[in-house]
Structure formats: C-alpha cells, structure tokens
C-alpha cells in the first residue's frame, strides 16, 4: 500500500486555530502518513521557538463558551485576552488536552515537514532566527508540488 499523504495550509495563529493542524498532522503521522504543513500569514506564529505568545480572545468570538456571560465592552478591557488564554489553557490541561508545544514536538519527531511561506515571512519582516530550526522556506509552487500528490488537502 502506497504511503498516504496529507497537505495542510495553516493560516491562523490563535490558540484555538493552532490545534487543528497540529492534531491532524500528529495523528496522520501516527497512522504512517507523509505530512507537510505550509504555514502562511498568521500561521507563521506557530513556528516561533516559543509558543507562549499564542493566545485566544473572546472578542469577536461569540461562539466561545464563557463561564459567565460577558458584554463586549468588558471583553475589550486590558488583560482580558491574557485572562481568557490562561483560563483556556487551564481548562485544556484539566481535560487531558495536549499543549501546542507537545503536539508540535510530536509532529517534528514524526518527520512532519514544516514549510514557511517566504512571501509572508518577508511581508511581516520576521527573522528566520525567530523560528524553530526544522522549518523550510518556500512558496506556493512548493506547496502545490506536495499537495498535488496528496490524498487529503486542507486549508485551516
């Protein structure tokens, strides 16, 4: 049986949206799939050496379950984002959900290939030294080459 392939595009850099690419990639790798993730725009934040800055905001996120109803005016107050992030991380830990760091490490151990979009790296003036060393750099053609041969291809 030929090795299955999955190609993902990760475009979001918030805590909630960081999970799907790392969950799918680590699982597919565990199933023996060959996986590549193309990180572009805000998804580049997921390649930083430290993932501590990855946050979640209740603002403009009305579907986010809150322990108590919170008016938008309150959500806007300074410190609300870091509080929401802290609470979400605490909840995840208590439910046995892996940390982003853990899932990313699993992906790297399993040889999931991380490709950073060179155009957006330049656009946001990121330094490659800000990212983990396993990252490769390329453009849309690099992604299309792998995606064209993939069995599953998702834009996240």
């Amino acid at each position: 049986m030929a090795t299955k392939k999955m190609a993902l595009i990760a475009t979001k850099g918030t805590l909630d949206m960081a999970y799907p690419p790392f969950i799918l990639a680590s699982t597919a790798a565990a199933l023996g799939w060959d996986v590549q993730i193309f990180f572009t725009f805000y998804g580049l934040q997921l390649l930083r050496k430290s993932l501590d800055g990855v946050s979640i905001s209740p603002l403009a996120n009305p579907a986010m379950p809150m322990p108590i109803p919170m008016p938008v005016m309150v959500q806007m107050l300074p410190g609300m984002e870091s509080m929401a992030t802290m609470m979400m991380k605490k909840k995840m830990k208590s439910k046995g959900v892996a940390s982003l760091q853990e899932l990313r490490d699993v992906c790297l151990e399993a040889d999931v290939k991380f490709v950073a979009c060179q155009m957006t790296v330049d656009l946001f003036e990121f330094e490659t030294s800000e990212f983990i060393k396993e990252v490769e750099y390329g453009g849309a053609a690099t992604f299309m080459k792998f995606a064209g041969e993939s069995d599953v291809c998702l834009f996240i």
């Binding site: 969950i23 699982t27 565990a30 199933l31 023996g32 046995g96 892996a98 899932l103 699993v106």
Partner: protein, 75 residues
C-alpha cells in the same frame, strides 16, 4: 487475554491516546500484544480506525468501569 506490554492513556484527550499508542508499539516486535487503557470515549472509534490503517490488528476491545480497554497485535 495475555499481553506483552500495557499503555495507560487514562485522562488523555484526542489525539494523544492514538499518538502515544503508536509510540508504545514502536519498541515491540511483530506479533506482540499491547494492552491500551483509555478514558476517552472517542478512542473507541479512533482505535479501530488506527488499527485498520496501520495493520496492527485490534484483537479485542471492552469497557470496564468507564474505561476502555484495547488489545492490539503489532503488525
């Protein structure tokens, strides 16, 4: 059922039971049996899907006191 190794995934959520089961199988030899314990209800479907896609046979599965037990035979 006899088994060669046990992995307790109790308390872990998706995708850790699967990802760590894969790791637990890594140092086993073909034909050996791994017993996995999980508390994640999603792992019932996930473990069957894992077994089917990796060729590691799911010999038996059962639930005991809100825990799920799986016996996987390494391919």
């Amino acid at each position: 059922m006899n088994f060669n190794k046990e992995f307790d995934a109790s308390g872990l959520a998706c995708p850790l039971p699967i990802v760590k089961t894969k790791k637990a199988l890594a140092d086993m030899t073909s034909g050996q049996v791994l017993r996995v314990i999980s508390t994640d209800p999603g792992s019932v479907c996930d473990m069957a899907a894992f077994a089917e896609q990796t060729g590691n046979a799911l010999l038996e599965q059962a639930s005991e006191n809100s825990k799920f037990v799986f016996y996987l035979k390494k391919a």
